[in-house]
Symmetry: C2
Amino acid sequence: MAAEMSGGDLSRLRQLNALAVIRVLKGQPSLTLTEVAKRTGLSRASTEDVVRELLRKGWVAEAGATAGGVGRPARRYRFRADAGRVLGVDIGGHKIRAVVADLDGNVQHTARVPVTPEMGRLERLEAVDRAVEEALEGAGLAGADVWASGVGTTGLVDGGGKVMLSEALPEWTGVDLAAHVRRLAPAPVLVENDSKLAALAECWRGVARYAKDMVFLLAGLRTGAGLVIDGKLHRGFGNASGEIGALPVLGWIRAQEHLGGEAGDVFAAAREGDKAALAAVRKYVKDLALGASALVLTLDPQMVVVGGGFSRSADVLIEPLKRELDRWCIRTPEVRMSALGDEAVVLGAVRLALDDVEDRLLDGRTPLVSRP
Amino acid sequence: MAAEMSGGDLSRLRQLNALAVIRVLKGQPSLTLTEVAKRTGLSRASTEDVVRELLRKGWVAEAGATAGGVGRPARRYRFRADAGRVLGVDIGGHKIRAVVADLDGNVQHTARVPVTPEMGRLERLEAVDRAVEEALEGAGLAGADVWASGVGTTGLVDGGGKVMLSEALPEWTGVDLAAHVRRLAPAPVLVENDSKLAALAECWRGVARYAKDMVFLLAGLRTGAGLVIDGKLHRGFGNASGEIGALPVLGWIRAQEHLGGEAGDVFAAAREGDKAALAAVRKYVKDLALGASALVLTLDPQMVVVGGGFSRSADVLIEPLKRELDRWCIRTPEVRMSALGDEAVVLGAVRLALDDVEDRLLDGRTPLVSRP
């Protein structure tokens, strides 16, 4: 029985072989053809053929040859992460962040524009424009050089990149963020809720790299959650997963109130042993843990990651939080504090954009090599 | 660039081609070779080759030829669902159910053995033995004829088929159900929590066939939940997903108390308009909905399916439940009553066993065709 290969199949196979070569090169500083052939399982001849075409198309570059043993040193090849660029944007209450990153997700330039929670829609969108323009300029790019953009925002976001509901920012419900950012960079724009993007970032570059199922808690002036299930961001049927805060009995609505207006001061006082501050932190943690327990009992995740502004106060938060989770959960998962801090959302936005680039490579919308 | 095929790849390709033929045949009463070739995308010669070998191995049989247009009628082929058998077992508080099913999941024989919630471990295991023996005998099989067994039980189950924790049944914590059932039928035994299996059954044969994300509520003398996420049963890192009942504030622990000892009578009285009964049902639904809302707000599923003993009283339950969910959820999913009723768990056990059979076909542990 022979293997069946139509013309379309061959085209797809060439694309998949080229993707396989890119994937093994991406994980390494550089590789020889022999190493690429071994790691992809392709023949030497096919490997040479694919690498030649990827060189021609600019996806791969020659790296310095290194002498190894006797004879002429073998040529080495590396993935060109600078073959393309993506844009990541985080629209927060206090700051707009825009970054340009390469295809490895390395940030090339970051722009920060301060805003206030009270700002109206137009003012905030103008700040987005300034941040994006500054990031592009800083990276020496025009909008047309961007391959994909990821945007994070507070609130519920629909599948088309519109804000369906935002309680935290005035005049923010109904904003078509995808259309707005597409004016600045005409590539595909993906918009997602900020807690969901932070969850994505933690699994990519943060403390949850080895967790398949993970609950991310946004602990800050707002409380939110993002879920990663089976290695994938879980959005929900209407993109409204993780909204446990809507159930008053689970405490997230009132959680921050215990800390008053200046949460940073309360955490600092608690650190010094101030009784009233310690009691306030305890009450906050009790409410945070109640909602978190509902998420944990539902999903039984491998890990809970605490991020957001309050994650800087890990030293006074983490032990009481673990104790409260122990009280309610059948199996308390590992609890970790985010190491990405403020950068989590914008990094998640970069990851969202890179996922879109990779999807287009995988399904052949962006051809890597010429058709046979 | 040529397609790369090693010996192992070819073996795997033959297995995948054979699986592809089985899959298209499974969906139809019978097909001609031309139809099989068209639907699998294989060449006529390869299709003939695969079908000939599947005939020889007993996976496929000739079906009656049907005349179609001019000329000699084409031969037709069908999948032989009776090529293998699986066992499904549901261990409940009041009843043990064992069924034998074919590879299409059609139940060949069902055995029911009554038990009581108070029975100890040995007595209950003896009842399991009787039910399994009766089901096998009724189907005219020996234990060695079974390809895989699925077992559903109340309580938390570990990955190896042991009951980690059961609060509902005495002496049930620690029972090694996989080992016990393997004594009766030596094929692989998969053990799972009953709510999880009912969820699986609803997505396979029940009202959630078209739902990718679904929350199943077990509403009966116990309250439980099973989650299907992205088309797959979500077990959780420690197999403890859906255990929202552990959080007292969410009401599941006290839910049934509102109905007293004879829930059936209360539902019947509520149906007749009895004020006290209606109030009791309302209190029950309020508590059921609180925990259900936590599940829904976490996952934002497409559908909620209500099963278990109380699902027979859909007429008095479903509207109040929808109203309570509307009260708490951001997006209330479609709410459906199970149509599988009491059979859901044992059907889910059959599905679990069939999944194991299919996994072994897919990874080649059960070879469909000879190696090249």
